[in-house]
Symmetry: C2
Subunit: 210 residues, 2 copies
């Protein structure tokens, strides 16, 4: 803990960019960070949104040379960060740290596998519903009449998170809004009827509204 460095970043800045040499890893204390990747042909995708307590940029932990993604601040953020060498040293001396890192990495792997499976077996609407429900779970804030996703989230972001296009997401959200399941604005989404989304996610029916 004493070896940590405290870092603050404002919205739309980055902690690191894809391809940079990976020398530090981070733990979010406050705010929200978007981890995204971009392919050679320009396709961008969101790996995940990290909130308080979660760690990101953990490549240095297992000997990666460069960060495989970019960490962008979505909501003003403070994080703790550790140096690669320091961490290696700490893991040598206190094995539980390594074990813990293994656990976290395993969790991430399991999560990615689940999303991989979703991608191969579900239609876009189901994937969007699930993504939204997960975000509610992780970053939801109770407001009157529903649950607000607690950070700015554009259609584009949601598209990159679910592996589809901005247009398709927009259509889907419009439909849900008409059905009363959500209400949304510019980079804002409020889920009004989670149960309806669950129905869609589970492919139980085609009408998740009242």
């Amino acid at each position: 803990m004493a070896a940590a460095r405290r870092v603050e970043r404002k919205r739309d800045t980055t902690f690191f960019r894809q391809g940079q040499e990976a020398v530090r890893f981070f733990v979010v204390m406050e705010g929200r960070v978007k981890i995204s990747q971009i392919t050679a042909d320009g396709h961008q995708n969101v790996v995940r949104y990290a909130g308080p307590g979660e760690l990101f940029g953990c490549v240095p932990l297992f000997g990666g040379e460069a960060y495989p993604g970019t960490a962008t601040v979505v909501a003003n953020c403070t994080a703790l960060s550790w140096d690669r060498l320091t961490t290696m040293g700490l893991m040598e001396r206190y094995p539980p740290i390594a074990t813990n890192a293994l656990k976290l990495l395993g969790g991430e792997l399991a999560d990615l596998r689940r999303r991989y499976q979703e991608l191969t077996s579900q239609r876009v609407e189901q994937r969007v519903a699930r993504a939204l429900l997960r975000l509610v779970e992780k970053a939801g804030k109770r407001v009157e009449g529903g649950v607000l996703i607690g950070f700015p989230l554009s259609r584009q972001d949601l598209a990159e998170l679910t592996g589809t296009t901005l247009h398709t997401v927009s259509r889907i959200l419009s439909a849900w809004e008409h059905a009363g399941a959500i209400s949304s604005g510019r980079r804002r989404i409020i889920v009004r009827n989670p149960h309806g989304l669950v129905s869609i996610a589970e492919d139980l029916d085609t009408d998740g509204s009242a």
Copy 2:
């Protein structure tokens, strides 16, 4: 090493099944193991094929309760296996083991992320080409006129590996065979013109043959 148990399995048997309590992890010595998952709605997918030197069933390493997938023997196989508690103890005493495990897990995570990206940004034909090239890399055997995938691989398997259907894979392979890029039989594939497949994988053209 002394704590390892040696296990042999014949083709079409399993080391463990999805959902079983995860008590041991394995390292392949010889042969080939298919790691696959199945969803509640019956969709099956292949996570990877593990060959000599690779480890699988590593959930116990980071505290998972049950195996998230099934390990099926594809080519007669011997493996070493370690008990969960033993491993935990070893990691406590010899930190490099944990560090190494982190590295391996990190590699797997990177691999899965790459495939996830492929799934969101590429067409089926490209994905199949890439999968095949990777298999050539990992399990290719030089034979006259090409490189043989060194274990039985059905269209169904390839479909589950690339997130598509048996039918689509069959069509694609037929086309490639006509073009002279590969030749194939029942659960056998020989790549004759890797360069052609690369062209397809990179989306450089629509005719990778001579």
